[in-house]
Every structure is written in structure tokens, then in C-alpha cells.
Symmetry: C3
Subunit: 262 residues, 3 copies
């Protein structure tokens, strides 16, 4: 990569990109707060009457199917299509894909629109790739490394970048694969942090053109903030509060010394 995660974060804080989210109802609060804490401007809007206009203003778009319904999915297609027309990036978070045929079809249809980046956990990536038929709710039951092959296949077929998050995060464009260390297991006990990670990728894509670099930097920064938030251990309530403080407060020395991308 031509530069480091700190440079990208600094640019994000200067430009305050507008990130449009059509996200699930559980994640609304934490996604908006994570984006604001990072320095981005979140915007949530889903009505078909305005979604194309909103997409016209946005620097990045994030589609998250966690609590999907037909009208919201239709709005995601409109926004994604508008972003593509403008040459602007968008992220697909296929929450819970594998759980139901409806969810599988919705995720597959959105994938065919070629998101810039897909972010999911290992079992979702396996389900999305057809490598696994089922997913158990929204928690990952497969290790991230088992899903790397599936992620690379998705990336190649759909010409997008795929981020698989877990104990170690992986970002691949089908040939190049980066590994990002960081995060903390207790993050899995706070709802919608995966959704917030996807939104963070959206914000980074708005200020960094290379999607592999943007996704890797985003996950490195998000994971580092999570690590800081988890220690000393207190519990998932405290972790969530400190995560917002950490996303806001990350400084150059911390980011430069602790981000580990390989």
C-alpha cells in the first residue's frame, strides 16, 4: 500500500464524507454513532421517493440486509445503481445470508450489482458463495480462515473486494489477500459491531480509491478501537461506550504503532 491507515483516517476526518446507510433496525444507533465518532457524516434514508436523490449526495453507500423487507431491498437497489452510475463506492453487508431462501436471494441479487466491497463473517461468506447451505443466525460458526477460499471466489466472479471478519480479518480482491490483526473477542457480545465495521469501510472508501487498501485500513482502525475499548475488561456495555470514545480519540502514535496489516 502506498500509505498507511493513519493517513487515510486523517483524510476521512478532514473531508467528513457523507455515508448513506440503508441498514437494519438493530444497528441504526451504533452505526450512526460509530460514523460520527470516526469523523464521517452518517445519513439514513430508505423511502423510494428520495433514495436516488440521497444517493446523489452521498460519498459512499452501505446496504445491510439484517432486517430486510421487499421495499427496503428495492431502495438498496436504487441507491446501489445510482452509486455505480456516479462511479462512487458502496458496501454490501449480507447479514444472516444462509438463514432463509428469501435472504439468500436478496443477498445474491445485491451481489450481482457488484458492490465495491462485501463485508461479512465467515459463515455468511460461505453461504454467499454457495459453499455452505446454512448459517446459524447472524453469528459466525466457521473460522475466518476457512472462508478465505470462498471470499476469493466471490471476489473473482463478481469483480469486487471481499472482507471476511473474525479473529483475524482478511481482505481480498481475488488475487491479493491482506490479513489484519486486532479486535477482541468481547466485541462479539455487542450487537451490530459487524454492521458498524461495514459502515466504517464505506467511510474509508469515500476517501481512498483502492478498495483493498480502504477496507484493510477501515478494519484495522475499527479493530484497534475495539481492542482499546475492551481493555481493561469490564463487559460489553462498557466496551461499546469506550469503542465510540476510541474511534473519536485515535491518534497518530497509536495508529502508527499498533495497526498490523500483512
Amino acid at each position: 500500500m502506498s500509505h498507511d491507515a493513519w493517513t487515510t483516517l486523517e483524510r476521512l476526518r478532514e473531508r467528513r464524507p457523507l455515508v448513506h446507510n440503508i441498514t437494519n433496525l438493530v444497528s441504526m444507533d451504533v452505526v450512526a454513532n460509530a460514523l460520527l465518532a470516526l469523523g464521517a457524516s452518517p445519513l439514513m434514508a430508505h423511502a423510494e421517493e428520495e433514495v436516488a436523490d440521497i444517493a446523489g449526495l452521498a460519498h459512499a453507500f452501505v446496504a445491510n440486509i439484517g432486517t430486510l423487507s421487499p421495499d427496503w431491498v428495492a431502495a438498496m437497489h436504487v441507491a446501489a445503481s445510482r452509486m455505480a452510475d456516479q462511479g462512487r463506492p458502496w458496501v454490501l453487508d449480507p447479514v444472516g445470508v444462509g438463514a432463509t431462501p428469501y435472504r439468500n436471494a436478496a443477498a445474491a441479487d445485491l451481489l450481482r450489482r457488484r458492490p465495491t466491497v462485501v463485508r461479512a463473517n465467515a459463515s455468511e461468506i460461505l453461504a454467499l458463495a454457495g459453499a455452505a447451505g446454512t448459517t446459524r443466525g447472524v453469528d459466525s460458526t466457521h473460522a475466518a480462515d476457512e472462508a478465505v477460499e470462498a471470499a476469493m471466489a466471490i471476489a473473482r466472479v463478481h469483480r469486487c473486494v471481499v472482507a471476511v471478519t473474525g479473529a483475524v480479518d482478511r481482505v481480498t480482491d481475488g488475487s491479493r489477500t491482506l490479513e489484519i490483526a486486532g479486535g477482541h473477542p468481547l466485541m462479539g457480545r455487542v450487537t451490530a459491531l459487524g454492521c458498524a465495521a461495514s459502515a466504517t469501510i464505506g467511510a474509508f472508501l469515500a476517501v481512498e480509491r483502492d478498495p483493498v487498501t480502504a477496507a484493510a485500513h477501515a478494519l484495522a482502525v475499527f479493530g484497534l478501537a475495539g481492542e482499546i475499548a475492551a481493555l481493561p475488561p469490564a463487559g460489553p456495555g462498557t466496551l461499546r461506550v469506550r469503542l465510540m470514545d476510541a474511534l473519536y480519540g485515535l491518534d497518530e502514535a497509536t495508529v502508527r504503532s499498533r495497526v498490523r496489516i500483512s
Copy 2:
């Protein structure tokens, strides 16, 4: 009861039951976080296109009418019906019943589907039983003990278990009534903790077949976590954060020494 609340909580943490929620829009975040902190797997989904499939995966279902609309209520019926077919438990939280005729009809219709457990505050139970015609929003204006008769009547007529929460919580199947001490008045100043208590009952039902025992253990654990979270007093913001930490961190010594069910 054949065993204690600690045993049930331990089993929940081992099995991580999948709890499907169709809950109100205010409670989404706190319900999902409470379930994760406890050790359960929350899943929110309401689209008619997938709700039966989701119910097919779930170990328990929780229907909460706080911000009801016809399509969401229809989805609750589909999920409840599927749970009944599978012999799996579900919980009804009739938030704000008594406030409007629409809400009364929706609550009564769902009650006729025989939830495993109904959880509500005293004024909601009175409204649900027809013992009181009005409710003032979603806060309880009647003492829990006045509602016990109504709860017993509902339990007998609808062959379900009814939990009335308040300063002291009661759980009844129409003949047996347990009292659960615990909780803290400041919990009333945090939104949707009643909804989170209902979801907690759902998680406990997934690992304990006797619904009186499951509901009593759930309310005892939730109340104990609330008590721990409320002290030393700081305010409702801090209480909510510490509640998640306490649900996550409860240990055997604390649960065995402090749970009071009689």
C-alpha cells in the same frame, strides 16, 4: 423447582439459544445487547417472505407490540404459529395494551394463540384481562400485586404462564405463583428494559422446559443484574451500560447467594 437460576443461566451460556424477536423499534438495540450479554443469540426479522423460515431455526420467539403495525403483527402470528407447530416456546409482551382499541385487539388476538409466557407490567396485565379499560402509555400506574388476580385469570383461561413485573415480580400459571425480589426503581428510567426482560424470558424458555421456572429464573437473573447495575447510583445512562456488563459477568457465587424466589 428442581434446580436453581444459576443452573439455568449456565445452560443458556453453553447452548447459546437462537432467540427470534419481532420487537418494537425503540427496543431493538437494548434487546439484542441484553441477549448477547446473557449468552444467547438474538435475531430480528419481520418480513413475511422469511418469517416462517426464521421461526423454523429459532429456539424461542418473542413478540412485542410496542410499535405495532398490521404487517408486523401478521408476521408475529406466522412466527407464533410456527413455534406452536414445532412445540417451541414463545413470549408475548403486550406493550401499551389498554392505550388504544387497535392495540387491545392485537394483544387479544396474539393471546388467543397461547403464548408460553406473557410478560407485562401491572397496568398492562389489568388491561389485557379486561380488568382495567385504560393504560397510561407504557408505564405502569398500578402496583404489581393488584394485578396478580388478573394474571392468574389470564393464565387459567389461556393456559399460559403470566409474569407481572414491578417492584416485586410475580410469575403464575394460574395456580402456582412465585415471587421474585430484585431490580431497582431506577430501571424504570431506562427505556425498553421491560422488553429486554421479556427477551430474557424467551432465552431461558429455550433451555428450561417448565415455563414457570424459566420465567422466574429469567426475571431473577435480569433483576439481579439491574440491582448490581444500579449501585452505586449514578443515573440511568450508567445503569444501562452496567446492566450489560452485569448480565455478561454474573458468576455462580453472586447468583446463588442473591437470587430470591419464593
Copy 3:
């Protein structure tokens, strides 16, 4: 003003007014928690089947268009109309007006129903007045003082009170304009605090008939709580938690000595 902010807050805590909100999906949690912490009773309901009945019970209503859709906007009109018929107050928060033609039309239509108070940031007020054609998402990009002329024009034409929030808040009925100092810049890094301020105005309107006084007292109390929550600085996660504690814990000495309305 015939009395001070403390007196109004004390009255609110005694009467616990029922505040009906049709608000955006991002703000549900923080709005309900802020109202409960203050001492009011929040109620969220949007179904056309019950919205008029809910409005019949409410002491104040707050319409917030942040994540608007046609059915929710229709429900806002029903509730606003019912409040007007009953001579009860309501607040319009035109979140993101200026961003899209649909949002502009929805805000203008609601404004024609003569809300008791409109609360918005400077760029939203300018957009609402037609003084500016665009708004950049939901964050204010104009200083509050530039928008005072526009606020006065709206207040005169639509015979309502307009509150413009920013570094200094202004409340005007078109002739009289009050300035309220307070708050902290870090509040802009927590989502939906503007929405929570609008809901706070709703709660104050329920116990104070003069809308200029009610809005000024509400913003003074909310800003003071924000100031207390922001110091010593920790970050936006901690600020949000402490804000709820501060709204709950504000005492007479603090309010009397620190509220600055001129």
C-alpha cells in the same frame, strides 16, 4: 419570562407528561431515554390504525422526519391534526430538509399545519425558509446566527415558534428572540441529540403554555446537561451515557446558577 427553567423542570418531573413521538429510526433509543431521564413518559407509535387514539392521550407530540416514508408522514399529519383539535402542543423537527425534493415537500406540508415549535439546525432552517437550496445531510454547515432571520420569517408567516440550535441556541416567535448559551461541541459527535432536544421541547411544552419560554427552558436544560456530560472530556460514547445521568440528576442549585438565557 415569569419563572425560570428550574421551575419548569420541576413541574415536568411532577406531572410526567406523556410525549408521543413519531421519530426517525436512528433516534428511537436516545429520544426515549432522554425523555425518561428528564422525567417524562415517552410513547412511540405510528400505525394509522391507532395514531389518532394515541394523540388523544398525549400531552405533546413530536414529529421528526429523519427517516421519513409516506405512511409515517401521513401518521404525523393525523397526530398533528388531533393535537391541534385538542389545543395541545406539537413540535416539528425537519431533519435533513433541503437534502431532497421529497423531504422539502414533506417538511413544508407539516409546517403548514402550524407546529407549536419548529426545532432545527441553521442549515435546515435556511432550507425550510427557502433561503438555501441545499443541506449537506443532517449536519449543520451554516452558523446558527445566519439563520436567525430565516427563523423569524418562518415564525411570522406560520405563526409558530422557531428554535435554531447551534453553538448558541436561538428561540424566536418572529418578534421576541431569546439566546440560550450552553452545550458542548462534542455533542455533535453523538447521533440524534438534536432529535432528543426536539423531544425535550415537546416535554416542556406539555407543562409550560408559553412556547417561547418552554423551548428556551428545554434547550437550556438540555444544553446544560450536555455541558456537564462533556466534562471532563472522554469521548462521544461517554458523553451520551453521562447526558442521561445529567438529565436525570440536574438539581436546583445547578440549574439556577448555570442556565443562561438572554
